[in-house]
Subunit: 256 residues, 2 copies
DNA sequence: AATCAATAAATTGGCGCCAATTTTTGGCGC
DNA sequence: GCGCCAAAAATTGGCGCCAATTTATTGATT
C-alpha cells in the first residue's frame, strides 16, 4: 500500500566529479582536490620541506572541513610526502640525507628501465607525443618559473607513460615528487629538479631508438641530480626544525 | 606566585611502543597493529582479494574503535592493498589483469637491480644473514603452510635489504604484497607466491658474486611467476564485481 | 511464480564537541 | 639579562551522534 511517495531523500545533487585533464604536474591518479592542491604546491616548490600544515588553516584555505584535511594529510603521509608527528601535526616531508640519495638511486633504476621499455614500445602515437612535448619544452618561456618546473617534470612522466607500465609510472611519479623534496632540502630552495638541457638529448635518442645511448643519457641525467645535492651540515640536526617552522610561519601561509 | 603544583597532567604512561622484531612477513615499517594485522592476513592468504572489510567487524575483531579502523583502511587504500568504494566500504584489493602483469614486470625491474646491488655491497654480515636464511628455508617444515609463505617472501625482502637502498626496499615490499594479491586473484587461491626451489640457486649465486648469473636467475624466477598467472575470463568484467561481493558476503567474514 | 517497488535494516560518511597534548605567553627569581 | 616554572591559548586526537546511502527483506502487481 502506501504509494504516497514518501520523498525520503534529497533531490540527489548531480555529483560534481571533477574529471578535468587540467594542469601539468606530477600528481597521481587521485582526484581529491585537497591532495592535488598540496601536491601541486609542493611540486611547484611553493611549500618547502618542513613547512607546517595546520589542519584548521588548510580547512579554511580549501573551504572544507577538518575531516577532509585529515584524510588528505593521512593519505599524503602514506606516500611519504607529508610527515605526521603525533599531537604535533603534519609537515611537508623532509627526507634525510640517506633517503635523498636512495630516492635518486631508485630513480636511476626505474627510469633507465622505463626508457628502455619506452623505446621497445614506441609507436606512431608515442613519437607524436614525445615530439610535441619536446617542442613545448624548446619553446617555453624560461621566465615562467612554474611552467618550467611543470614541463621538466612532465618529460619524465611522459617517458614513463610511453613505457606502458602503470605500476612503474606510479612509482616514477612518486619518486619525482620525493626528488623535489630531496632537492629542495639539500640544494637551494626554488631550484628546478632537472637541468632541462638534458631532455632534448634523451628525447632525440628515444626517437632514434638508440637504446643503449638513451639509457646512458638518462642515467647520466639522474647522476647529475645526485651530484647536485650535498649533505647540509646540520640539516638533519634535531630541533633545527623549529627554526624553520618559525620562519615559515612568519611569512604566513604559502599561498603567495 | 602560586607554586601550588597543580598536578596538571597524568603521570604520562610509559609509551608501549611495540618494537618487537616479531613475525616474518612483508609488512612495512608502520607499527599500527590494525595495519599489520590486515597485511599479515593478506600475505598469509587468509584474506582473499575482494573480501569485504567492514568497519564495525574489524573494530570488534581488533578490540578498537571505528576511527582507528578507518585510518588503517585509508592507509592501506593509499598503498593499493585495499580498495575503498564510496558508501560501500573497503575490500581487499583485487588487481586487474593488466595491473597484475605490470606488478610482476615492475618486480623484474626492481629485483634484478637489488640483486645486482646486493652483490656489490655484500659483506661478511650480509653473507651470514643470507646463509642463515638459506638454511632456514632448506630445513623448514613444508607442511606448515604459513611458515612457508612467510619464508619465501622473506627471501626477497632479505635480498632487497642487502642492496642497502631503503626506498627500493620499501618498493619491493609493496610489490611483493601486491604480487600476493595478483597471484591470489589469477591463480588458485592459497598457492604460494614463489616456487621455493629457485631461492637456493639465487642465494648461491649471490654468495658466489656471480652477478650476471644471479640477475638472470632472479629474472627467470620472476618470469616463472608471470607465467603462472592467467587472465580469468570475466574476472575483470564490469559489474561482475557485485556478484563477487555478494558471494563474499554470503560466506560471512573471511577470518575463519 | 517471477518481477518490481517500497519499507526496513545495516553500513558508511561527516559534523560537533570535548579531552589530551603541545606551544606560546606571562612572571618570578637568580 | 637569562633561565626556569606555571597558566593560557592553540592545536591535535578521539568518541558519539545523526544523516545519507547502500543492501536486504517484505509485499504487491502482472
Amino acid at each position: 500500500m502506501k504509494r504516497s511517495r514518501p520523498l525520503r531523500r534529497k533531490p540527489k545533487r548531480p555529483e560534481p566529479k571533477r574529471q578535468e585533464p587540467d594542469a601539468i604536474d606530477l600528481r597521481s591518479t587521485d582526484d581529491d582536490p585537497v591532495v592535488q592542491g598540496i601536491l601541486t604546491a609542493i611540486s611547484q616548490k611553493r611549500l618547502k620541506p618542513g613547512a607546517k600544515l595546520g589542519e584548521d588553516k588548510l580547512a579554511k584555505a580549501f573551504g572544507t572541513t577538518r575531516i577532509h584535511i585529515r584524510q588528505a594529510l593521512s593519505h599524503l603521509a602514506s606516500r611519504k610526502v607529508v610527515m605526521q608527528i603525533p599531537n604535533r601535526g603534519a609537515f611537508v616531508y623532509r627526507p634525510s640525507w640517506e633517503e635523498a640519495k636512495d630516492i635518486l638511486a631508485a630513480r636511476r633504476v626505474i627510469e633507465t628501465a622505463t626508457v628502455s621499455a619506452a623505446i621497445d614500445r614506441l609507436d606512431k602515437a608515442g613519437r607524436a607525443e614525445l615530439k610535441a612535448h619536446m617542442e613545448l619544452e624548446a619553446r617555453h618561456d624560461r621566465n615562467d618559473r612554474w611552467a618550467s618546473l611543470s614541463l621538466t617534470a612532465e618529460f619524465h612522466v611522459l617517458v614513463a607513460k610511453l613505457a606502458g607500465n602503470r605500476v612503474l609510472l606510479e612509482m616514477s611519479r612518486e619518486l619525482m615528487l620525493r626528488t623535489s623534496l630531496a632537492i629542495a632540502t639539500f640544494e637551494q630552495p626554488g631550484e628546478p629538479d632537472c637541468l632541462p638541457d638534458a631532455h632534448p638529448d634523451i628525447g632525440a635518442l628515444i626517437l632514434a631508438r638508440d637504446k643503449a645511448s638513451a639509457i646512458d643519457a638518462m642515467r647520466h641525467h639522474i647522476e647529475e641530480m645526485e651530484q647536485r645535492i650535498r649533505p647540509k651540515e646540520g640539516a638533519d640536526e634535531v630541533d633545527e626544525l623549529t627554526a624553520i617552522f618559525r620562519e615559515i610561519d612568519a611569512r604566513g601561509r604559502a599561498g603567495g
